[in-house]
Amino acid sequence: MLIKNRKASDVLGSEITPKSVFDNRRAFLKTAALAGVGLAAGALPSLPALAARTPLSGVKKTRWSADSLPENDPVNDYEDITGYNNFYEFGTGKRDPKANAQDFKPEPWSIAVEGACAKPGKISFEDLIKPHTLEERVYRFRCVEAWSMVVPWVGIPLADVLKRFEPTSDAKYVYFETLLDPEQMPGQRYPVLKWPYKEGLRIDEAMNPLSFLSVGLYGEVLPNQNGAPVRLVVPWKYGYKSIKSIVKIKFQSAMPPTSWNEAAAREYGFYSNVNPAVSHPRWSQASERRIGEIFKRKTLMFNGYEEEVAGLYTDMDLRKWH
């Protein structure tokens, strides 16, 4: 008898959408999107954002495809993913980022690499991406505010990028920073948080195969409001860990400060793993509202990525290290 051990994220035969259906859906979406852009651009020629939808070429399919997710996790539509954002650098309302990020300039862009690594320095966005093959990763995305989406990201595994800088044995943590530029990021004119936005991961979390640097969405260049030109995606953690518009990566031995932890340590821990058993002072995390649905669904441990990441936290009290 054949005994197969199945991971939660593995594909069941019953879950596979026939390729023709999938391709058709893609083709339809693309046509619909292009038609939408055409119409909107025709009607409102002054909106530069609508012209900015640039397709990315050579994107590799991975085992983290839309088909790998259960049937009740359909991919959210482009409008929702790009029109409903928390990106306080562009305002605290959900629609502010789309409205206020259109003049943001994601190029030219460079990232400062610092700290405990053999190859520190400044690296341009192009040089950061060039040696890698772009991949599509369809991940569940869970916001600490108890809503969630399914997002088809395009990008590169974080581990592959970090290894290029040859972190030393002192590199126990990786620290990230968002651009600080109130001229381009009007939300930074208000002291909602201490700018620039700061985030961090433990090095083994950063090296986990799920950790991802995203540069695109739906096979296209990442829109400004979603964190262009490059953002982090850590799907088993609450969304605010996924820092956007990264300008600095620093390897260090000490646990780095993070913006939300600085603002309210009781509410936002360093780890911020999705955990339905640990109630947040603001929102019960037991359930969530999937965007596009009215009623809530149960939240999964580590956002459904338990088998891939639970090993990172054995022997840790996840209540204390929330």
Binding site: E79, Y88, V192, L193, R289, I294
Partner: protein
């Protein structure tokens, strides 16, 4: 004069609800996106915003009378107060029905665990007896003086509502501070007037 103004106030007070109704109809029938990708959250905040605004508008009647000397304006106070309560009830109903879907365990947990919800519920509890006793019959039954005393609870509700808004926002956001400042100045004007009168008498 007031008989002309009252219908106008009715229309203005119902306008935000009508606009919400339009957004819902547009979303359902035409696939409009005015309710954002998360309609439940949008409706909650929209109704909460208007509940707080009407509460402050109701609290502005007395200062307006003091500043303008227009005594008749007081006759609009009960109507405005009831509209504030109306939006509070819609706001809470949306939370109970669409947000939590009658999950009373989750709601109770919210009330005891999450301070901003505790404070919000305090505002609601303060307003219920005021809405109940808003009729002429109730004023007679408990007497004008007691009725006036009881209706001072609106100050607690106003403070709690402002605090609820402030606590609910993440980080340091200026919008709740603006509402808080408006509430504080409305309260201050009430305190200053009797003081002036005393000075004049002395």
């Amino acid at each position: 004069m007031v008989w002309v103004i009252k219908p106008a106030v009715w229309v203005l007070c119902l306008a935000p609800l009508a606009w919400l109704g339009w957004l819902v109809a547009d979303a359902v029938l035409l696939g409009g996106r005015g309710l954002t990708a998360n309609p439940v959250e949008f409706i909650n905040r929209y109704l909460g915003d208007w509940a707080l605004r009407f509460l402050l508008i109701g609290l502005a009647v007395t200062p307006l009378r003091i500043l303008s000397g227009w005594k008749q304006v007081v006759r609009l106070r009960r109507l405005l107060g009831l509209f504030a309560f109306f939006y509070v009830v819609l706001h809470v109903s949306n939370y109970v029905v669409l947000d939590q879907f009658f999950n009373w365990t989750a709601i109770w947990e919210d009330i005891v665990k999450r301070w901003y919800i505790t404070v919000g519920m305090l505002a609601l509890v303060c307003l219920i007896p005021l809405a109940v006793t808003s009729t002429k019959g109730w004023i007679k039954r408990i007497g004008g003086r007691n009725w006036n005393k009881l209706h001072k609870a609106v100050y607690v509700a106003g403070a709690a509502a402002c605090l609820h808004f402030f606590m609910m926002r993440k980080g340091l956001q200026y919008e709740p501070l603006v509402y808080g400042a408006i509430f504080a100045s409305l309260m201050m004007m009430r305190a200053v007037e009797p003081l002036k009168r005393k000075l004049r008498a002395a």
